[in-house]
């Protein structure tokens, strides 16, 4: 059920930004989701289709860009992508773990509207 509140949040943000820009139709929503968020986007489109019915984003396609996790080694500074299901260990020096530099993202990058459908022109 995690995906339901997340999807509600997405719709709320999209509607707000679209209204501010005077847009009446959103066709595509680009999201960035880090691998280390534990967030599985599979069912989001499903929830989105249901929730967006009758809104300006009805039928919009969600494009989800997965951001791989990236860890900076504490010992040597090398930035590496941890392997799924394995301990975080630097492939260069063997140092344990490190600081997360990417993979915790979860944001809406942009929305695409239909050509000519802009508040300025109506």
């Amino acid at each position: 059920m995690h995906e339901l509140p997340v999807t509600e949040s997405i719709l709320e943000i999209v509607q707000r930004h679209a209204a501010a820009a005077g847009v009446t139709r959103v066709v595509r929503i680009r999201l960035v989701v880090g691998e280390l968020t534990g967030f599985v986007p599979d069912s989001i489109q499903f929830y989105f289709d249901a929730l967006s019915e009758g809104t300006i984003a009805e039928g919009a396609l969600l494009e989800i860009e997965r951001q791989p996790g990236r860890i900076r080694c504490r010992a040597c500074g090398r930035i590496y992508e941890p392997l799924d299901g394995q301990i975080w260990i630097c492939p260069d020096c063997g140092g344990l773990g490190g600081e997360i530099v990417a993979g915790k993202e979860m944001y809406i990058e942009s929305i695409e509207i239909t050509e000519g459908d802009h508040g300025d022109q109506s």
């Binding site: 059920m1 943000i13 280390l36 944001y107 942009s110």
Partner: protein
């Protein structure tokens, strides 16, 4: 045509979490978000903590579960104010639920607020509540590979409580492997070895909690 948005999906939750934090700070309450998988011993740890801090600190508890008031009833029976949140099917607590629960508590009479999150090692970590400290309860029978399988749950913690240490001789739990996997994620986080059943190790945990709350 494309419009830039660049807004965090959970920005509304994050904003409300900051408001919760401000309310807690105004009432000088230290809030602790307690996360774990189901059955790790969150409620047992809270009950033991209540017992240990009786007369030393004023506690309150927010209980998150999918359904029932079983946990809050146990807390109230121990003489501590408790608010039960039932999330329905929800897999985690969020800042809205905490805001509602805070309204039901007399915060001025509370030193430490323990928030028991929904049993789940995945989702709670993404939702800020306004808490000051984040604690994960792991337990020996779950196995030593939890930090490898669920690394995001072990990020940004203030403490790890490893419960059910009394069962270590009976299950294949490799403590060194567990600690190595934790250290791969966090070099410094304190790990408390405890047993809520026997009471072993609880004093160190309680001393840490008092110190983090500015009460010792």
């Amino acid at each position: 045509m494309e419009i830039k948005v660049e807004e965090k999906i959970l920005s509304a939750n994050d904003r409300l979490a900051l408001e919760n934090r401000a309310r807690l700070d105004a009432a000088r309450v230290t809030a602790v978000n307690i996360m774990a998988s189901p059955g790790a011993g969150k409620t047992s740890l809270i009950l033991r903590t209540i017992e240990a801090l009786r007369g030393r600190a004023r506690l309150a508890v927010i209980e998150g579960d999918l359904a029932s008031t079983v946990d809050a009833d146990k807390i109230k029976a121990a003489g501590v104010p408790a608010v039960q949140i039932n999330t329905g099917g929800g897999c985690h607590l969020d800042a809205v639920m905490i805001a509602d629960a805070l309204r039901q508590l007399a915060l001025d009479d509370v030193d430490i607020l323990l928030i028991e999150n929904v049993g789940n090692l995945v989702c709670p970590t993404n939702f800020a509540l306004g808490e000051h400290k984040r604690v994960l309860v792991a337990s020996v029978p779950e196995g030593h590979d939890k930090p490898i399988k669920y690394p995001s749950s072990f990020v940004d913690l203030d403490a790890i409580v490893l419960n059910k240490m009394d069962l270590a001789p009976y299950v294949d739990f490799d403590l060194a492997a567990f600690e190595r996997a934790v250290r791969a994620i966090d070099a410094d986080v304190p790990i408390f070895h405890i047993s809520c059943r026997t009471g072993e190790g609880l004093e160190a945990w309680v001393a840490w909690l008092m110190q983090q709350s500015g009460l010792s």
